[in-house]
Subunit: 118 residues, 2 copies
DNA sequence: CTAGTTCCTCGACATATGTCAAGGGCAGTG
DNA sequence: CACTGCCCTTGACATATGTCGAGGAACTAG
């Protein structure tokens, strides 16, 4: 990955086919890789697990920052990555923004990688 | 990920628990993140798909390099990443090294992320 | 032995990434 | 209005990452 990054919008369904079912196209490989990249960080794994554990109500930036001992700027950065990958959904409520996990998107990504799927 | 990289050996089983089942420990988050990082690259996704598509016999470096239009050095680098993450197993045979996918490891990783698992 | 494969390692380079401090924009409150 | 809390953006920095060319080690073929 020497060159330009994606600038791709990550929203599509992305069902089962990819990696285990025959050779993957460049485009599909990129799609999957981008979503994985969004997840491939210990902080973001913890963030996701916190968000998942907090039900569908959602969690706020500050709370996560306090929990993980990070700056709100840093947490905002990570939440942005996850949101742009479609793994989190942010809903503004007054001054606060609540982040919730998109279980469907996460499930789709997982299934795209599952060697036992399909 | 500002600081030191892992130097962790990635071989353990890593079954279901992690991300969807309550808050994840720092260690677990790191384990999962490292394996995901090994996968979070379009080239490596394509590599894995090629290897998976080639059955258990395994594929050689050169063939993959030709297929992906990359240097053997680059492919070697990527294969190393995947191997160190435990997702590929390399078996030397004379002058050639055959790489095969470890479906169990891949499955374990996938299940660790599956929000519908367990 | 010589020549050709195959693979890996090393060094170098450009680019991407994670983190923070600083600062600004909103929303709610006194 | 002023003040506080929350969130995001920007700029800066160190570090990590992907890619290649060059070269060496180990095996194979002639």
């Amino acid at each position: 990955m020497p060159k330009s990054l994606p600038a791709i919008e990550l929203s599509g369904a992305l069902c089962c086919p990819p990696v285990a079912a025959g050779v993957v196209s460049d485009a599909d490989a990129l799609e999957v890789a981008l979503r994985l990249k969004a997840l491939a960080d210990p902080v973001r794994i913890k963030l996701l697990s916190f968000v998942l554990a907090s039900g569908s109500g959602g969690v706020r930036n500050v709370d996560l920052a306090r929990e993980l001992h990070l700056t709100d700027a840093t947490v905002s950065h990570h939440l942005g990555q996850l949101s742009r990958a479609g793994l989190l959904v942010a809903t503004r409520q007054g001054a606060s923004t609540y982040y919730a996990a998109d279980r469907v998107a996460l499930g789709a990504l997982v299934r795209a990688l599952d060697p036992d799927c399909c």
